[in-house]
Structure formats: C-alpha cells, structure tokens
Symmetry: C2
C-alpha cells in the first residue's frame, strides 16, 4: 500500500519551520506497513496544491495532508481538497461546539473564520482534535484515501495516533493488522548491529525488523502482521528471543519514548539510591540531561562542574600531586573526583567524567580520551578509559551516555 505525505505551508518553503511532521508521519506509516515513496512541501496556494493532489492521486493509494487548517485566509487546504474531490463541506457540530466553548472561556468573540475550523468533508469521517480546534478528515474514494491533519505537531500527532491509526489499519488487507515493538540498544553501532542480525534481517517477512540510528544508540522496530494482539505477541516474542541471543548485551529498554537516561533514573529509583555527578569535559551535560526529567530530584541531588584544574582542587579536593603526576585526564583524577564527590554530597553513588573534548589535545592526550569513574556505596570505585571520536559535541555526548550506562549496569547487577 503506497502512501505519500504533502505538507502545506509557505513557512516551510521559507525555511522558517523544519518539516518534522513528514518525519513523524513517515516513521509511523512505515511502522503500520505503508510504503512511503514521496514527501512534498507546497505553499498555501490553491493551484499548486491542486497540482500536487492530482499527481499524488495518480501515484499513491493514501495521501496524507498536514497544515493549512487554521482560521486565516491563507489556510485553504480543506477547501482545496474539497474542490479537488468534488465534495461538499459542512459544519461538524461537535467541532463547532468545542470552538464556541473555547472562545467563551477566553472571553473572545467568535468570527466566521474561526467557525471554518469545524468544516468537514461530507461523505468523509471527521477526526476530532484532542489538543486544538481544527477538525481533521478521512475521506475514501474507490481508488484512494485522503487523510487531512492539522499542521502544528502538538495537534497533528495526537490526532494521528488516536484517530487516524485505527482507520489506516482497517484499510490494510485483512489478517494483516500490524503490531510493533521497539527495542533500544546502547554500545553497538547501527552497522555492527545490522551485520550481527544480517540473517534475521535478510530473511525477514513477518515480523519485519527496521533499524533506526540516533546519536549513541540504535532502535529496532519489530513489526508483526497478525489477526490479533496475542498472535502478534507470539511472533514478536520469538523474534525478540533470537535478537536477544545475538545482541542482548547491548539491549537497554523498550519503547519509542524511552531513553538511556530514563532507564538509568528508573534503576536509581528502583534501588532507592541517590546520585551526585562531577563533570569536567561534559561541563554539566550529564546533570542537565538528568534535570530534564520531571521528578528526578527523588534520586539526583546535584554535583560539580570542575572545568579547570584549579576547580578540581578547590571544589573537589583533587590532590595537586595527582594533577602534576597523572594530569586531569587520568584514572587517578577521575577516581578522586568520584570519591570526593560522594563524600562531599553524601550521595550513594558519584559519577565523574574527565577527558579531552577537543578541538585540541590536552596534556599530550588525544582528543576524545576520557576517564569515567563510579564511586559506590561500599566505598569501592570502578574506573574505565575510553577513546571517543568525531566532534566536540559528539565526544561530550558519548561520555555522558557511557557514564550513565555504567551506572545503570551497576544498579542492575546489584539486584
């Protein structure tokens, strides 16, 4: 089943907004089992949008439109689609009531332009907007289906996931419902993962395996076609078992919205343990990444950014002799940073990171050289050397991810 995405908006063509909607919809539709052959961006222009609809209708089964459902005169996607399909537009009563309620609460006057956002294609299915005012539409002809979604990602995503996905699944051939599972891996690159899983991937029919790489991690999306959830889970469990036998050492968690930092914080919560951090080359990246998670204060107390050698001595009490003899990028310095941070903060665990972020070498040590230490509740310290590559930002990110992972592994092993 071929699908394509048309994003409508002059702001996209001016380069003012990044088209993340196309990325989200492509990944989601691929996961459902659609094949995406094209993405198009077109401005808020009747004629050019109409041309895009003609072309898309010839070459794709499903056409997904986003954007141009707002209240202003520029917003003409709905009208253009109605004209293209020779379909009428009528007010969706539930949608209009929501708009009226919104304006009443805000104490603002309702204009005809605002009413426009409740217009829906006669003969189609109206999609409600859980987080905004413009309704969406799903309209089928004998040969094609058209999905009409709002432009703001905060409205488009919930409408797609809650309203559109069931309709799109119904369109796929019978017995062909798709069920997905996302597995996340750290410490193995995409190309290595794909190489190790080559037999599984080349032989895949049902379930399928799709790898997605992100900085310092790889996700696998396993997708099974089955009559129901139970049958799908049997297929997915079996594939997962084979995958885990090959690369289970690198697996850290499930789910699209998961992350290594979330899993690490969860492991701390499960262990009722607290963490403090001392950062040199990462300059606060580990701590600010922890700080992005609501409720992290339960397990993360704080720590130090000791960017200069003087601060390593003054704030953390690293010995001058250590710095003179071994340098700041050394096992000995990392160890003292971690041990002293644990002592100064009283946290159960203290993580320290010291290294050469670049662009120039330090103490004769190459860019990317990094030491990470973890001071533990029993008073012992675990240290590990790394040699990260690429640019400054990537080196700092690699250090953070490896530091968090060493803590996560330690907490899991203790259980």
């Amino acid at each position: 089943m071929r699908a394509e995405i048309i994003a409508v908006g002059t702001e996209l063509l001016m380069g003012q907004v990044v088209n993340t909607n196309a990325t989200f919809l492509s990944e989601q539709l691929t996961g459902l089992g659609y094949q995406i052959y094209f993405q198009t961006v077109v401005g808020d222009n009747r004629e050019r949008l109409n041309d895009c609809l003609s072309l898309a209708t010839e070459r794709s089964d499903l056409i997904v439109l986003t954007g141009g459902l707002g209240p202003t005169e520029d917003d003409l996607t709905r009208e253009t689609l109605a004209h293209f399909l020779d379909a009428e537009l009528a007010i969706d009563q539930a949608g209009l009531e929501k708009i009226i309620q919104h304006f009443t609460i805000q104490g603002r006057e309702l204009t005809d332009n605002n009413r426009k956002q409740a217009l829906s294609l006669v003969g189609g299915q109206t999609l409600t907007n859980p987080t905004g005012l413009a309704v969406g539409d799903f309209y089928q002809t004998p040969s094609n289906a058209y999905l009409l979604l709002p432009g703001p990602p905060s409205e488009m995503k919930p409408m797609f996931l809650q309203e559109a996905v069931p309709l799109l699944q119904d369109r796929l051939p019978q017995n062909n419902q798709l069920f997905s599972r996302v597995m996340r891996f750290f410490g193995i690159g995409e190309s290595q993962l794909v190489t190790v899983l080559a037999d599984e991937i080349s032989g895949q029919t049902n379930p399928t395996i799709a790898p997605y790489a992100a900085p310092n991690e790889v996700r696998l999306r396993l997708t099974a076609q089955a009559r129901n959830n139970l049958a799908a889970n049997q297929l997915l469990d079996s594939l997962e078992k084979r995958i885990m036998a090959l690369v289970g050492d690198y697996f850290y968690g499930y789910g699209e919205e998961n992350s290594l930092v979330k899993e690490t914080v969860q492991a701390l919560k499960d262990s009722h343990a607290t963490l403090a951090v001392a950062e040199s080359l990462t300059a606060g990246l580990v701590q600010s990444t922890l700080g992005q998670l609501p409720g992290v204060s339960e397990v993360f107390v704080g720590g130090f950014v000791t960017y200069s050698n003087e601060m390593k001595q003054q704030l953390l009490g690293v010995e001058e002799a250590t710095l003179a003899k071994h340098g700041a990028v050394s096992r000995e310095c990392a160890k003292e940073m971690a041990v002293n941070t644990r002592r100064l903060t009283g946290a159960d665990y203290a993580l320290s990171l010291t290294g050469v972020a670049g662009p120039s070498e330090v103490e004769g040590k190459a860019v990317g050289t990094t030491w990470i230490a973890l001071a533990k509740p029993d008073g012992t310290v675990q240290t590990q050397a790394y040699r990260f590559t690429r640019d400054r930002t990537y080196i700092q990110h690699s250090a953070m991810m490896n530091g968090l992972n060493s803590l996560r592994i330690e907490l899991l092993n203790k259980k």
Copy 2:
C-alpha cells in the same frame, strides 16, 4: 527566479532522518532572492528520481538536489541526473586526489566505489567539498540550472555557502545582486517585534525584512538588492538604524552562526573576566551550554549543580535559616548561591539560578517562578525575579538565556 529542492534518500522516507537540509536551503535561497515553490523527498530510486527531475524542470528555474552522492550502490543521484541531462560523467582529478589522500592516511584500500565520489558532470562546474569526499556540481542548460550537493548537513552547508552561493548570485538578473545581514534579538517575542516594526515591514521593497523565531530569540534577515556591496551596505545601514531606533534595546549581535552564549563568552573574554555558575532549576544547562564552545576554558572555570536543598547547604553554604524563612526559590537564596560560588571558586563573576521548572509548584511558588543572581567583582550582587511559561524544557532554557543575558549586559555596561 523559481527554485525547488529535491532531497534524495530512502532514510528520509522511512522517517529515520529529519530533512533539515530543505529548511536550510529554503532559508538561504529565499535570502538570495529565489522563490521556493516546492520541496520534494524521493527515495534512492532511478525511475522515481527521474520523474521528479522532469516535473521540477518544467516548473522551476533552479533545481537543487541533495543526497545520494555516497560510495554505495544506493547512491545514484549523480548518475540519474547525468542520464536525465544526457551529460557525460568524468573523474575530477582534484577530487580524486583528495579521496586517495584520505584513504592513504586511514591506511584503507581504495575501491572503485570510492572513486565514484569524484565523478563530475562534463560541461558543468565541479564544486569542491571542504568537509567531505563527494564533489558537487553546478550544471546549466539554456532553460534551467541544477545544483548537486551532498546529503550530510556537515558537508552540504559549507559547500553551499562557499561554492554555490557565488554561482547562484551570478544567475540572478543584473543590478539585482542580493546582500543579506542578520540581526539577532533577545527579550522580545516575534509577534511583538513584528508589531513594533509593522510600518517598516509593510512598506518593505528594498531592503526586505524577514523575521525568524527560535526558542527565546528572534532573528531578522535584512536583504538589499544592489549593484555592489557598498551600495547594499548603505541601504542596509539605513534600515538597521531605523530598526535600532525602535528595538535596539533587544539587539544582541549579528550573524547566522552567532548565539547569545557566544556573545556572552566574547564579552567575558573582552573583559578578561572569569565566570562560575551555581544552578538549581537548570541543573547544569548553563554550564553545559558554555561547555559546548571550544576555548571556553579561558573564561569559564566551573561551578555547582545544587539540585536539592541539602546540596545548597552542603556544597554552597546557603544558610539553613534562609531556606527555612524564604525557601530555595527566593531572592535571598539566589543571592547566597551567587556570593558563595564566587567566594568558593575565586571567579570574577558568579551567576546563580534557582526556580520552579515544573511540572508541580514548589514551596507554594508557581511553575516558572525563577530568581537569578549575579555576584560581581566589586562584591555587589544583582538579583532579578522572573515568571517563565510553557513546559519544563522551555522554562529551563528561558532561565539560562536570561541569566547569560544579565551577565552580558553587565559586562557591556562596564566597558
């Protein structure tokens, strides 16, 4: 002059990569004076790419292609374009020598696939790749121009800016060269800026004004059409003067690649002053953002992340009485954090940030409530209260930007 962008890559259609290239190129081409009517994404497929080229050639003057110049069999943009244009491909000697040199240094064997990256369209202009191996191309027919760029943004952007821009400027009508200047503003929202500048914007013909919003800042791109740089600068200077008269208080710097943190670090360097930071709600965000800049160690020494109240006492020596009486989110606490950080680190300036990042209120203080303090070399402390809005991430970012800006303003006023 109409332009459109074709991004080639199956990874874009799978939703594995966000098409930031289209955004960058759209903004740049718009700035040069081209009108972008379409962006397309197509997979690594000869036939479908050929169809896209046919359509684009009919409807646009300039066709910009990115992606698919790599060494693998999937990469077929160059071959497909050559076939479409009925042009020959030949090895670019300078490009090949760069590839050979790269493989020699790496100690890896050169294959025919790698040589392919030095192929160039006969009759076109080869564009060198400052940060990678694949050469680019600029090819003109009587009716159209084709610009061929690599896919990785780290290669595409330098090639576009250094190699393609002069060629694209030459294509524009005589006397119509375009010259741009980017002005950056902090502390004023896009809608407010546009409202204040309404007369300038509505009356614009030459130069033009285009606003671009990013989190916690707005950029204005001023573009003048003129015979030469001197004439353009006169037009731009005059417009800039009028803009500065209206919103000069919010202006902080020039340039596409600039940022508030860069300007703040530069102000520290100009003042030969050092900085330490104590962060509560931002949890290291200020320090890690500083840490992203190479060479920041000249002025940034480090600091504290005192996420819990205990850490504010233990690490920073904030008085228990202060926390009991005023709470952690208070002028008094921010003040002690800054003063004590300056004392403990010996830095010239110390910045502290304490507030409610959310999602829940703290000490009866609403989400977004924030105090920022700056301890100065003369022993005085400046404090300021804020009430930031939106989500946790945005509140933390707002706090960081306002903290850095207060330091920047202080350093500028001292000069």
